[in-house]
């Protein structure tokens, strides 16, 4: 009984701390929005140039159905593309660590490929893979796999050499070291890479839709801007941001579930 009560108290305390942590950001955001609104009204800025927050909110409400449908399309692209990026990213890292010669061959090529501006590839992917889901998913994959590979590699190699010696001293094979030591050690790093990758994925989806699409938030943004419907452009941007933030925190939750023992790389709690 007492245990449950104290636990409950501790939880509500934790909740209160979280709220207090969020407060400064919320206040700053409110101040910016109010100043923005005031400036637009004061200087009578045209709606086509920059809508006021209230205009954007209005567009969000009026076009809720359109935006919801577009969000589903984009979210699907992001999820599939991100999943592919994670799979490819992990696979590359494992190959590089496990097969040293292959790794020496692959790694410079991966770095080289990373320096190619992926945005420029979007039209080519449309040409190759059509107009539908495929080119977006592939674009997201090539944009987002790199941080996964890089962090996974760092994680796999973060194991102390003396730990490897320890394993080898009892006759453990490379596969045992990989399975029992390297991969679990890499998980916190992988999670950090995945957080970067998910934000890249959202960008990738929007860029992919810019290059050619008939649905999705990127398509809505492009279409609305040709119509000079600036409030709708901003409304879609707000939704894109929210999608990105939701995915980001879903991964953070996954991190807490998967690697509760890991040191937290939580920048927000450092401040």
């Amino acid at each position: 009984m007492t245990m449950a009560v104290t636990e409950k108290a501790a939880r509500s305390h934790e909740f209160a701390t979280q709220i207090i942590r969020l407060a400064p950001g919320a206040v700053l955001l409110a101040v910016v929005l109010i100043l923005w609104e005031a400036a637009i009204r004061l200087f009578s800025v045209s709606l086509f140039v920059l809508p006021a927050p209230s205009d954007i909110a209005g567009a969000l409400v009026t076009n809720a159905a359109t935006l919801a449908a577009a969000t589903l399309v984009t979210a699907k692209e992001v999820l599939i593309g991100f999943a592919l990026a994670v799979i490819v990213g992990i696979a590359l890292a494992l190959l590089i660590v496990r097969f040293r010669l292959l790794g020496r061959a692959l790694y410079p090529l991966i770095v080289l490929f990373q320096t190619v501006p992926k945005v420029a590839l979007a039209p080519i992917f449309i040409l190759w893979f059509g107009y539908d889901l495929a080119p977006k998913v592939i674009l997201i994959m090539v944009i987002a796999f790199f941080p996964v590979t890089l962090d996974m590699l760092a994680g796999l190699q973060s194991v102390e050499q003396s730990f490897v010696s320890l394993m080898r001293s009892v006759g453990a094979r490379d596969n045992d070291v990989m399975l029992h030591v390297r991969i679990p050690h890499a998980l916190p790093h992988l999670m950090a890479g995945m957080k970067v990758a998910i934000t890249f994925s959202v960008i990738g989806a929007i860029v992919g839709e810019f290059a050619g699409a008939s649905a999705g938030l990127g398509y809505v943004i492009q279409f609305a801007s040709t119509q000079l419907d600036t409030p709708m452009v901003f409304a879609a941007l707000v939704v894109v941001s929210v999608v990105g933030v939701v995915f980001y925190y879903l991964i953070e939750m996954l991190e807490h579930l998967l690697v509760p023992w890991a040191p937290k790389f939580d920048a927000a709690n450092r401040i």
């Binding site: 003396s162 730990f163 001293s169 009892v170 006759g171 029992h180």
Partner: protein, 319 residues
């Protein structure tokens, strides 16, 4: 079996130039002995060390595993008796860690032979003869103390059931004084406690030999001393052969039957000293004048091995 440990390591209080010890050892390589002076045992229980557990004969190790590279170890002869505690001490870069790794079969000698429990050191890992302890505790942060202590046994011996591995691990955690912390995660343990888990993990393998590479180097002075008493206690109970690489002269004298002083560039044994103190040892051992004398002697030898002229008079001269 001519190689008798007692005669192999008794350059005690001998003020002969450091080079002589190494040279005489090299000359006798292949005959089994490495010291020309068959002095009798001093202050050592007769029960230990009549059979060598580890022998090194004219061992040369070049890095990185090439015959042409500079030698890290250049001509080491060594005999470590079964059930004895032996320290390797010397400056950084003298190859003491490399020698330890070679005993564990992790590094192959470029020339010469190392035998562990009657076979080549290359088979040490397969026969699971050694338990290793490093300066880093190397615990898996997601596993409890118990799971960590059982981990190496479970990985290396599939015939041992999880239950048995955990039972053996629990016994050894109790032996190192962590019976109360079986379920604690490494992050909940102090540095000294983590190192105790690492020792329990090595013991859970039930190896014939414990190889310890500066195991207490990262701990504070008081914890270090506690760990030394723990090792003495473990040795009294298990009679394992223990090889300890250390920078601490105190630690070497307190724990060891024999101390081998190594010199660098190239790495070799420049003298071997038998500690003239009986067992059991404890904190009263520090007060024994023979302890201080041995310590002084080792200090002089170490300074020589660093190429210095010796800041203190040798033990003989002080008398």
């Amino acid at each position: 079996m001519r190689l008798v440990r007692n005669s192999a390591t008794s350059r005690q209080f001998d003020n002969a130039p450091a080079g002589v010890a190494a040279k005489s050892g090299t000359q006798l390589a292949g005959q089994g002995g490495f010291d020309a002076m068959p002095n009798g045992p001093i202050g050592r229980p007769a029960a230990h060390g009549s059979q060598p557990m580890i022998t090194a004969r004219n061992v040369i190790i070049s890095y990185p595993g090439t015959r042409s590279g500079p030698a890290v170890i250049d001509g080491v002869d060594l005999a470590i008796g079964a059930g004895s505690i032996v320290s390797l001490i010397g400056p950084s870069g003298c190859g003491k860690s490399t020698l330890l790794k070679a005993m564990a079969g992790l590094v192959a000698p470029t020339q010469g032979q190392i035998e562990v429990a009657g076979t080549s050191a290359a088979a040490t890992a397969q026969r699971r003869l050694v338990g290793l302890v490093f300066q880093e505790a190397n615990l898996l942060p997601w596993k409890s103390a118990l799971e960590n202590a059982a981990f190496l046994l479970q990985v290396s011996d599939r015939s041992v059931s999880r239950k048995e591995a955990h039972e053996r691990a629990a016994d050894n955690l109790k032996l190192v004084g962590l019976g109360h912390a079986l379920q604690k995660l490494p992050s909940q343990l102090s540095g000294g406690m983590r190192q105790r888990v690492s020792i329990a993990r090595a013991l859970t393998l039930n190896p014939q030999i414990l190889l310890m590479d500066e195991p207490f180097g990262a701990l504070d002075a008081i914890t270090r001393e506690e760990m030394s008493y723990l090792m003495l206690d473990i040795w009294e109970r298990t009679q394992k052969t223990i090889v300890l690489v250390t920078h601490s002269i105190d630690e070497a004298v307190l724990l060891s039957h024999d101390v081998h002083v190594m010199g660098a560039h190239p790495g070799r044994i420049i003298c071997s000293i038998t500690v003239p103190l009986g067992f059991p040892r404890n904190n009263a051992s520090f007060a024994d004048p023979r302890f201080r004398e041995t310590e002084m002697l080792l200090r002089d030898r170490l300074i020589e091995s660093h190429g210095g002229r010796g800041g203190t008079a040798s033990a003989e001269e002080r008398k």
